[in-house]
Assembly symmetry: C2
Homo-oligomer: 193 residues x 2
DNA sequence: CGGCCGAAGTAGACACTGTCTACGAGGCCT
DNA sequence: AGGCCTCGTAGACAGTGTCTACTTCGGCCG
């Protein structure tokens, strides 16, 4: 069987990721995941003692996905540091809007293990890259502080945009101009755009 | 009795607000609210057909509270538009960090009626005021766009700060410098600070 | 080869949730 | 007085996460 090739542990996470993308965070119950994996509701407990741990494992996939996309975007972007920050930021927002359920889960820290798996594992390195690029663009500024402000702006846009708040309040139709506004405010205008 | 002076409807919301502040969003179950209000678990249904509607009524208090604080802050701040934006922003962040449960609820739109009560009711006017002040500070820019970017920055700081992400990643101890960074980036330096 | 043992999954119980429905108590109006 | 109607009660129901006792089955050791 191809399904029993991989362990139940991995299959549960696979099913979870798929279910999250298909039906959203609310559908991601322990029992429904077990059902779709074809096992009883008690089975997951052997690998994930608590629901939070299973959700955390699913979220970890999301962090890995985001890190992969960011890595790919940076590899593709051959311009200067300012352009690379722009590519990173666009990737971040596209991820948040492409995978709304996953993005939601990744930042619902009440549903995740308190260990902040995502942050330490992949967000921090990613943040470090961002801060490094910022330092190149604005050597006179406190790069980590500016990178933090930038990240906050990205996260805010992602969140508010998903709810339609910014569309309604700011009257935008696309998040691009908002993103450019934030980037330009912190880093100055982008050369070739 | 002083408790039966006010209607059960209001009492439920009162109890909810109090419970939210005391024990957080997770404790805000319909049955627990009913218990603390001294009625059976079916009683709320007469006033709030669904749990979401009760939560929405509670959140509405939060939006009103925020609007009141903003109004007060603007009344207190006698400086120019740039200083007034600063006061507004600080008020927003202080609210988010003073009342973390309420702030969380206000932006958990999966728990609120889809009508976006809060947005239309109080956030939009508030956003309008912000945009008006921004227009005074930067007449050459698209005020609503800048205000949107500013709001996103505030929301992002509030969210990330509450989880400790920014403290960890950006190495800050206080959100003030981050807030100043965002404000300065979008509006230029504040005169008297 | 046979018995055992431990890992893996099952099945049912428990407390809790939100929702729904049938029911009773009490006041108000005609 | 009698009827109605608003308000709240009480219990049932499906669903959830967690916990515990029980089966099943494959591999290992004597």
């Amino acid at each position: 069987m191809t399904e029993s090739d991989i362990s139940l542990r991995d299959r549960l996470v696979d099913v979870g990721v798929q279910l999250l993308a298909a039906e959203g965070l609310q559908a991601l119950t322990l029992r429904e995941i077990a059902r779709r994996a074809g096992v009883s509701h008690g089975a997951p407990r052997r690998y994930f003692p608590t629901h939070l741990e299973l959700l955390s494992a699913i979220a970890r996939r999301g962090f890995a996905d985001l890190a992969g996309r960011a890595h790919g975007a940076l590899a593709r972007e051959t311009g200067g540091p300012r352009a690379r920050v722009g590519a990173l930021a666009r990737t971040y927002l596209e991820f948040a809007l492409d995978e709304p359920g996953m993005y939601e889960l990744m930042f619902r820290h009440d549903l995740l293990e308190s260990g902040h798996l995502g942050l330490r594992g992949t967000s921090l390195p990613l943040f470090g890259q961002l801060a490094g690029l910022v330092a190149e663009v604005r050597p006179e500024a406190d790069a980590r502080r500016v990178a933090g402000a930038l990240w906050a702006g990205l996260h805010g846009i992602a969140q508010l945009w998903r709810w339609g708040s910014l569309q309604l309040a700011a009257g935008e139709e696309d998040f691009g101009p908002l993103l450019d506004t934030v980037l330009t405010a912190h880093l100055g205008p982008e050369a070739g755009r």
